[in-house]
């Protein structure tokens, strides 16, 4: 009896253990793997418009939502990602290439060997060679073809000469065989391998893309030739016998919908199941101008996923209804939202004022405008923590109780300011009627009153101008905008250089389309070039530190970026960071498997399944 009881207990314990392992495995992947099966259509509601930056032409497309479609479904690059959540999703893995190469020649040479048996989809349907990768790189270098991030590749020898039309080929790229491509760089570049995982480097067949150059380059977006598991519906009917005969594929209407179906030339044996499972037969992306309608349809099972932002009331519904909780997916967005302070404009040309503002802003209040804690953790520095391997998780140089701002601490910081008469308030005339550019989204409307009220507590009165499309105003230095609440910045790939290079390097200060809104590193000469005025002397620069970190690799590189983050937060103070955004997705009950793609910060379409 006792023995029997022991057996029963043991069996029950084993069963319980097995069950807990199954449950844990299921929850770790964030999905219900038990019922995932192939087939069906994955239907996605897309709010407003596709918003593509170059009409879905991979050479010029710089939109994360598009990258998710390319990387998961349509295009394969030499190296890529496994399209999963968290740190594992930022690890570069082989895709077209058989392995991820280690640099040779003192960190200057990268040699990729392509797998065999990988074909373009219809209508090309032939094996992909190294020349197709070269063609994509040349297309990216040619400014007329609309490339939007060629700056990542100027480290390749001969790139600039080719881009300027002074050379017929890029001398630093060679294709010794159909399956080998070699890149020679001008300087060691620690994150080069990430750059070769970006969608613009995916092979492009010259026989089709040659028809789309110059002014009509981005029309290739209507006929993107697949190298991945899915293709645009109707591509198999596109007649590529001549340029004139190539018509847009039937499955893509830029104003309303995009339908992707299985690519008959895709060979799953050349791919990794860890990277792409390709379960649904079809993906439908449909534009809907009404976000409420999208969420209603997801709730009703008429859509399965969304490319939108759940409003606070949608979040509340999903988080407070036990049966719905699992349908709201929260993932690290690798994006920081911040107030930008212009270092040339009074009173923010004084570091004491910038520090005081960091200490007075109620970051918790600002986060409520985004929907509360679900929107993400409070940002206390520049780069999202996961990208710095959590080295700065506990770093908060402007800590206040509850992250709600502190008048005492802010006044103490303000006391040293030339704009204060020692009472901790910004007293000078320069502190009054300071122009703040805001946008007109719901979150902006929610944040502006808080910022205005908080700034007033230390004597800064803000004159707010709400502008639809505020980026267009603040990215022009000659407008001399002192402060804006609009900016947010997300990674291009999982290296902090994609924050520092673009946001704080003096070389990125441009007359238009500037992203270094604070003008860190501005000199009188640059100020003249971009027509910026105000205090243009004595602006701190972090160019040497950025250059130093860029040459490093591995953990040393990450530590270098973390140290630079601290330096900027304490000695430059160009921002008031307030939110490390989470990406929120609401899915329907039809979805039986779901994951998050950390690379694109979107749904991992490569790993979803529906009933």
């Amino acid at each position: 009896m006792q023995r029997h009881l022991r057996k029963t207990i043991l069996a029950a314990a084993v069963l319980a253990l097995a069950a807990s392992i199954v449950v844990a495995a299921g929850s770790a992947s964030g999905s219900k793997t038990t019922t995932a099966k192939a087939g069906g259509t994955y239907r996605v509601g897309w709010e407003g418009s596709f918003g593509f930056t170059d009409a879905f032409d991979p050479t010029g497309e710089y939109l994360g939502n598009a990258w998710a479609l390319y990387s998961n479904l349509l295009l394969r690059t030499l190296v890529g990602y496994n399209h999963v959540a968290g740190a594992a999703g930022n690890v570069v893995v082989p895709d077209l290439a058989a392995s991820v190469p280690k640099p040779t020649g003192g960190g200057l040479v990268y040699t990729f060997h392509l797998k065999s048996g990988i074909k373009f989809g219809p209508p090309v349907s032939r094996e992909i060679t190294s020349k197709d990768v070269l063609f994509a790189m040349e297309r990216l270098a040619n400014a007329k073809d609309g490339g939007q991030y060629p700056f990542y590749y100027t480290v390749i020898k001969g790139w600039d000469a080719y881009a300027a039309g002074k050379a017929k080929s890029i001398s630093g790229i060679s294709t010794p065989s159909a399956t080998t491509i070699v890149f020679r760089l001008t300087q060691p570049t620690g994150d080069f391998i990430y750059r070769m995982a970006m969608p613009a480097t995916a092979p492009i067949p010259a026989e089709v893309a040659k028809c789309f150059t110059g002014g009509k380059a981005n029309q290739y977006g209507r006929d993107v030739v697949s190298s991945g598991p899915y293709m645009i519906q109707g591509m198999d009917s596109v007649d590529m016998s001549s340029c004139a005969s190539i018509k847009p594929a039937s499955g893509f209407n830029p104003l309303s919908s995009l339908t992707l179906v299985r690519n008959p030339d895709y060979n799953a044996a050349t791919d990794s199941k860890a990277a792409r499972q390709n379960l649904p037969d079809e993906f439908d992306f449909t534009i809907d101008s009404n976000a409420d309608d999208i969420y209603n349809k997801v709730a009703a099972g008429q859509l399965d996923d969304e490319v939108s932002s759940p409003s606070p009331k949608v979040l509340r519904k999903y988080l407070t209804t036990p049966s719905l909780k699992n349908l709201l997916k929260q993932n690290v967005g690798d994006r920081t939202w911040y107030l930008t302070l212009n270092l040339t404009q009074a009173p923010f040309d004084d570091i004491h004022v910038r520090k005081a503002l960091n200490l007075i802003i109620d970051k918790t209040g600002l986060r409520k405008a985004w929907g509360g804690a679900t929107a993400g953790p409070i940002a206390t520095h520049i780069v999202p923590n996961p990208m710095l391997h959590n080295l700065l998780s506990n770093y908060d140089p402007y800590k206040t109780p509850g992250s709600a701002g502190s008048v005492t601490l802010a006044k103490a910081a303000m006391k040293g300011s030339k704009y204060s008469n020692g009472d901790g308030m910004c007293d000078a005339a320069a502190c009054k009627n300071v122009l703040m550019i805001a946008d007109t989204r719901a979150v902006d409307k929610g944040m502006v009153p808080i910022i205005v009220a908080d700034a007033a507590k230390i004597g800064i009165t803000l004159k707010v101008r709400s502008v639809t499309g505020a980026y267009g105003v603040i990215n022009t230095p000659k407008n001399n905008i002192p402060i804006s609440e609009r900016p947010g910045w997300g990674k291009d790939y999982a290296d902090a250089s994609t924050f520092f290079d673009e946001l704080f390097a003096s070389s990125t200060i441009l007359a238009t389309g500037n992203t270094n809104y604070s003008l860190v590193g501005l000199t009188p000469a640059i100020a003249k070039k971009v027509s910026a005025s105000g205090t243009v002397t004595g602006i701190p620069s972090v160019d040497p530190q950025i250059n130093h970190c860029n040459k490093l690799t591995g953990n040393t590189r990450v530590s270098c970026w973390a140290a630079l983050d601290k330096t900027i937060m304490t000695t430059v103070v160009p921002w008031v960071p307030y939110l490390s955004a989470q990406n929120l997705n609401v899915i329907s009950t039809n979805v039986t498997k779901w994951n998050y793609d950390q690379f694109s910060d979107q749904t991992a379409y490569a790993h979803v399944a529906v009933k």
């Binding site: 409003s311 606070p312 009331k313 979040l315 509340r316 988080l319 109620d362 918790t364 209040g365 409520k368 405008a369 985004w370 929907g371 509360g372 804690a373 679900t374 709600a404 122009l435 550019i437 805001a438 007109t440 719901a442 902006d444 409307k445 929610g446 502006v448 009153p449 808080i450 205005v452 009220a453 707010v464 101008r465 709400s466 502008v467 639809t468 499309g469 267009g472 105003v473 407008n479 905008i481």
Partner: protein, 325 residues
């Protein structure tokens, strides 16, 4: 049986009329006697007066009563953990708005915005319309043709679309429009509304002026050698006062709604300034979880437009502007 006559014929055949006190009534007295019989108009007038008082002192008074400054956000206490506002309670009588501000205080301040926009825009429209209408109607000829067709063009324009365009364009620039003359915010909203409203007044004034300039008293003045300016200002203008008051009163609620519409579209007053239209914009996103955002400012908006309309109707009747009298 018929009623007996209320006068008697004396034996001598002379008719003895009853003693009737004949009192001369001034036009203003006639107006008041007619107006006070119109209870709806009186009620409208009382409401308008109350609204004007609210516009003048309601906001600060509400701040004092509640202790909640209009732009202070109470996100800790008056929004839930998701940032959704909480409803009315003993200290926040109308609940909170989407940013956690006191909706009662914001609604009171909203009255000021609505009335300032309504009154100023209508006042500017009145001035422009009056001048254009008087000049066109009095001088006639090519001046009339030019001015009247201009007014027709304004009337033919798709107002909301163009207003949205103008306000959006002036709000995008840091310095406003027309070299900084039109600043983003309330100024541009007032300018836009006035631009689209003057033509109504101009047409009405022109019509009256065309009729008045042929009247005998104008002929007399002209015969006495009065100048055109004097005839316009001393003979015609006083006769336009009644109709102008009536039509302006009716124009004010239209313009208040116009401002609400612009604010609803996100093109109205700045976000730090309260306006019923902008509160209703917030409400459109949250009405199913925060009814108070729709009910209170919406109620005031309805009450205001109704009161002005009733008052305008009453004034029209009392001033004898209607053609069927």
């Amino acid at each position: 049986m018929t009623n007996p006559p209320d006068f008697e014929i004396s034996a001598g055949g002379a008719v003895a009329l009853p003693a009737i006190a004949i009192a001369q009534k001034s036009p203003s007295r006639l107006f008041w006697e007619r107006f006070r019989q119109d209870k709806a108009a009186l009620a409208g007038g009382v409401v308008v007066i109350v609204l004007i008082l609210i516009a003048i002192g309601g906001g600060p008074l509400a701040e004092r009563l509640t202790g909640h400054p209009q732009n202070t956000t109470y996100t800790d206490t008056m929004t839930d953990s998701f940032g959704i506002p909480k409803g009315p309670n003993s200290t926040f009588w109308f609940g909170a708005d989407a940013e956690g501000r006191d909706l009662f205080v914001r609604t009171m301040y909203g009255a000021r915005t609505s009335l300032i926009v309504g009154l100023l825009a209508s006042g500017i429209a009145l001035l422009i319309g009056l001048v254009v209408g008087l000049v066109a109607g009095f001088y006639g000829g090519w001046i009339d043709t030019a001015l009247s067709r201009s007014a027709d063009v304004i009337l033919a324009l798709p107002q909301v679309l163009i207003a949205v365009g103008i306000v959006a364009a002036c709000s995008i620039s840091i310095n406003g429009c027309v070299g900084g003359l039109i600043q983003p915010g309330m100024t541009v909203v007032i300018a836009v509304i006035a631009f689209f409203s003057w033509s109504y007044i101009a047409r009405i004034v022109r019509g009256y002026t065309l009729s008045l300039r042929e009247k005998e008293f104008v002929e007399s003045a002209r015969a006495l050698g009065a100048s055109n300016l004097r005839i316009i200002t001393r003979e015609i203008l006083p006769n336009l006062v009644g109709p102008l008051i009536v039509y302006t009163t009716l124009l004010i609620p239209t313009n208040i709604l116009f401002e609400a519409a612009l604010s609803y579209l996100g093109l109205g007053v700045p976000v730090t300034q309260s306006s019923w239209g902008s509160i209703l914009t917030d409400a459109s996103q949250l009405y199913d979880v925060a009814w108070w955002l729709m009910v209170f400012p919406g109620g005031f908006l309805i009450l205001t437009t109704l009161a002005f309309n009733l008052l305008g109707d009453g004034l029209r009747d009392a001033f004898d502007v209607r053609s069927d009298r």
